[in-house]
């Protein structure tokens, strides 16, 4: 109960890795997992033992074995190599979407929180965008042009931005009403300076936390889009594509779905764990809102 912990005087903490890990098992676990996956993605050409694009129809749908660790797909391509390269696509999509939607969301959120006139317009547009289910919006956007990695990323960013804008805006509004900011405004501090000094640092924690969730959701949406046939071009070895192409063979070649599916789930898991851990550390208030 809250009373008790408040009542106790805790000793000053000395930093030790073991303690840090013990205190933040989720962050540690998520970070280690994610780092491992990033390493796999970066060194994909050295890890994959064969060309992920190489078609060899003679060897189609071979089960996992010493020669094909994760089996082969309908074109006889090596699923292991494709999965390893797939880490690149998924992480790239996840990280790019997280980065860009954070930047865009931050900029818009600051604008909205700060300039009341902009707020009305931008927030109506954001409400409108939020009202459209994200995957629906994304496929609709993708069909505007031809599918490619870039357009997939843009199509995922757009529905994610409003979520970030809301978080940032809420922070800005709450900070604005703090007495010290009001006095700073009264004291004639320039807007930009005010933003940099007071608002930005406060908005950062929830932003980082939110962007990890955006990253995880982006990876799932990318896979979903590929699954629906509206994702990156089919020869690109994204996990979504491997699954989408494998799904018609699931009963005779389950490895084409289960292996990339597991990788996708683990990656999303790692990012989510990292996000949960960061949330608990950086922004306990957010814990309630998930």
């Amino acid at each position: 109960m809250a009373v008790i912990t408040d009542d106790l005087a805790l000793p000053p903490r000395r930093f030790s890795l073991a303690t840090a890990i013990r205190r933040n098992p989720t962050i540690t676990f998520g970070a280690v997992l994610l780092t491992a996956l990033i390493v796999v993605a970066i060194f994909a050409p050295y890890i994959a033992y064969s060309d992920p694009f190489k078609i060899a129809p003679v060897n189609r749908l071979r089960p996992p074995s010493e020669r094909w660790w994760f089996g082969t797909d309908q074109f006889g391509r090596d699923v292991f190599s494709r999965t390893v390269y797939g880490a690149r696509v998924s992480l790239f999509v996840g990280l790019t979407v997280a980065a860009f939607s954070s930047l865009l969301g931050l900029a818009l959120g600051l604008l909205c929180g700060y300039f009341r006139r902009v707020d009305g317009i931008v927030m109506r547009v954001m409400d409108g965008l939020m009202a459209i289910p994200s995957i629906l919006l994304a496929i609709a956007l993708i069909t505007l042009t031809r599918p490619g990695l870039g357009i997939v990323i843009v199509a995922i960013i757009i529905p994610e931005v409003p979520r970030i804008v809301r978080v940032v805006r809420a922070v800005v509004l709450s900070i604005r009403s703090q007495p010290y900011i009001e006095s700073a405004i009264a004291g004639g501090t320039k807007n930009a300076k005010l933003l940099m000094r007071h608002v930005l640092p406060n908005a950062l924690a929830p932003l980082i936390v939110q962007s990890t969730y955006v990253c995880a959701s982006a990876m799932l949406i990318e896979a979903g889009l590929s699954f629906l046939g509206a994702g990156v071009p089919p020869e690109v070895p994204s996990w979504g594509n491997i699954i989408a192409q494998g799904r018609t063979f699931f009963q005779i070649a389950p490895w084409t779905i289960l292996i990339p599916g597991t990788f996708l789930a683990i990656t999303v898991l790692a990012v989510n764990l990292l996000g949960d851990g960061l949330r608990d550390r950086l922004d306990p208030r957010l814990a309630r809102r998930l």
Partner: protein
């Protein structure tokens, strides 16, 4: 088991569940979803299947590909082969109960003659099409065209179905609004859920050919063997297969070849080939209007990139169901020949690039339209793109759904302005067994199909074929035609295959064989 216990418990709990008169329902999954109900307007096979249920045709080609009268009772050809007189069978009625008259027939033929390539060709030789009375009409030709009855009985792409005059007056560029024919079934439009289900109910006004002639492809007596047919659309072939094995459906037109071993083992399920000819024929189409493929040398260079086995393995897998075919006329058909086939047999990617360079190709991007959602075309295109890339060709693969490919391929602009260089498609093996019905072999320039090959000689040969009198003559012309078409590279074939249909032999029988098209009449439910 659990299911049965639950079901049993529920059956006991609800003794008043509505007991319907035992209506026989055939639940079938076809290769595509019924979206267009005008079989003249579109060339889609699924619209054709729909059309064959709802409409009747004047003639039907039998298993030997000889036209036999269907709606027509008797007919007469003048000795100069210029005047055809047809008399309809007695008592023919449309699904709404109105009688079929020569007015309806002539309007229908005229509409078809404006839309379908074969129909357009036929009509170009027709001088007069006139009614003699309500049941008799006359077709007068300018020249003794030899393919009149075959054309009327054609079953691939836009078919010469007979509609009510009201609908037949619809602009051929517009779809008809109602689908009412004189075929064995009525289309239940009110129960139609596009993208999911199309429902057909037995046509009470249908008059089958008398005498119970045994069915032979599209000839013979057709009848409605069930009260109701539901064409259910399941896009994932694996799901459809499981549904068949699980007994949720009775008939599955296009199982994935990879699953045939599972289907063969499944209890109650049987497989059946729909025809003696392979049903599908793969084609790589080059754009003759745009560089580099405006140059025949560049087009021919592409032959060296194609190893048909690679494509067929990727699409079909099991060699029992595919066939390498170094020709444009369906291999295994009477007119199949080896004219020009030597050019198709030299697989040599290095040579391909070298020849391309000699033809002036300097590494510009080649735009390939890449369908992402098609069961066979998607993997075939992927194999092609990979082969081109490995040969060192700069490929600009434009991924899009098949619907977009269909719309994009109609553009004649340069690739940079929304056009294209290459797309992959398939055509029916039955149609491509006949040089006239095989529209993709044509080279009618602007008026031809996408890719717009342009060669007067090819068109002359196709005409000549239609006027040929003897089988030898036909075979000779077909060989010449194929040689010329391969030289010109109207398209690059990558083999042919057939997909057997799967059905619940423990529940239905009477499937008409050798149609090359899934027709659902005559099927009875046990």
């Amino acid at each position: 088991m659990l299911k049965r216990i639950f079901a049993g418990a529920l059956a006991l709990a609800i003794p008043f569940a509505p007991v319907q008169a035992q209506e026989k329902v055939l639940k079938a999954v076809m290769h595509a979803d019924v979206r267009v109900i005008d079989p003249m307007w579109t060339t889609q096979t699924i619209a054709n299947i729909h059309g064959m249920l709802v409409y009747d045709t004047l003639f039907g080609n039998d298993a030997q590909m000889k036209p036999q009268p269907q709606m027509v009772g008797k007919y007469d050809i003048s000795p100069d082969k210029l005047t055809y007189t047809f008399t309809l069978r007695d008592g023919l009625k449309f699904g709404d109960g109105s009688p079929v008259t020569t007015k309806d027939v002539i309007a229908s033929l005229q509409r078809w003659g404006k839309k379908d390539g074969v129909g357009i060709r036929l009509m170009s030789f027709v001088d007069k099409l006139e009614a003699v009375d309500d049941k008799t009409f006359r077709m007068v030709l300018k020249k003794p065209y030899g393919m009149v009855l075959e054309s009327l009985g054609k079953t691939n792409s836009s078919v010469a179905v007979i509609m009510r005059e009201k609908e037949a007056m619809t602009d051929p560029q517009q779809q008809v609004k109602e689908s009412i024919g004189s075929g064995p079934f009525n289309f239940a439009k009110d129960q139609w859920v596009p993208g999911s289900k199309a429902v057909y109910v037995k046509n009470p006004h249908y008059v089958p050919r008398p005498g119970n002639e045994p069915p032979s492809s599209f000839a013979g007596t057709k009848f409605a063997g069930v009260d109701r047919i539901e064409l259910i659309w399941i896009s994932d072939p694996q799901t459809a297969m499981s549904a068949l094995i699980n007994g949720e459906i009775d008939f599955f037109e296009a199982p994935s070849i990879d699953f045939l071993p599972i289907l063969e083992k499944a209890k109650g399920v049987k497989l059946m080939k729909t025809g003696t000819l392979d049903s599908t024929h793969g084609m790589i189409r080059l754009n003759h209007l745009q560089p580099p493929f405006d140059n025949p040398k560049a087009r021919q260079a592409m032959y060296h990139l194609i190893n048909q086995e690679d494509f067929l393995r990727a699409i079909v897998g099991n060699p029992a169901y595919y066939r390498v075919c170094h020709g444009l006329i369906t291999c295994g058909s009477p007119l199949a020949n080896d004219g020009g086939s030597a050019m198709l047999k030299d697989y040599n990617p290095k040579k391909a690039l070298q020849l391309l360079k000699e033809a002036g190709y300097k590494g510009e991007p080649i735009t390939v339209l890449q369908a992402t959602d098609h069961v066979t075309i998607t993997p075939a295109t992927q194999v092609l793109i990979q082969a081109m890339r490995e040969a060192g060709i700069n490929v600009d693969a434009q991924a899009m759904d098949w619907g977009s490919v269909v719309s994009r391929r109609a553009k004649k602009d340069p690739p940079a302005q929304g056009g294209w260089n290459i797309f992959v498609t398939t055509t029916g093996g039955v149609g491509s067994a006949n040089p006239v019905l095989h529209t993709w072999i044509g080279a009618a320039c602007d008026k031809g199909l996408f890719g717009w090959p342009c060669d007067a000689k090819i068109e002359e040969l196709r005409n000549a074929f239609a006027f040929a009198q003897t089988d030898e003559e036909r075979k000779k012309i077909a060989t010449e035609l194929q040689t010329r078409a391969i030289e010109q590279v109207v398209y690059i074939p990558f083999g042919q295959w057939t997909v057997p249909l799967a059905y619940r032999a423990d529940r239905i029988d009477g499937i008409v064989p050798n149609t090359g098209l899934a027709v659902l009449w005559n099927i009875k439910k046990k």
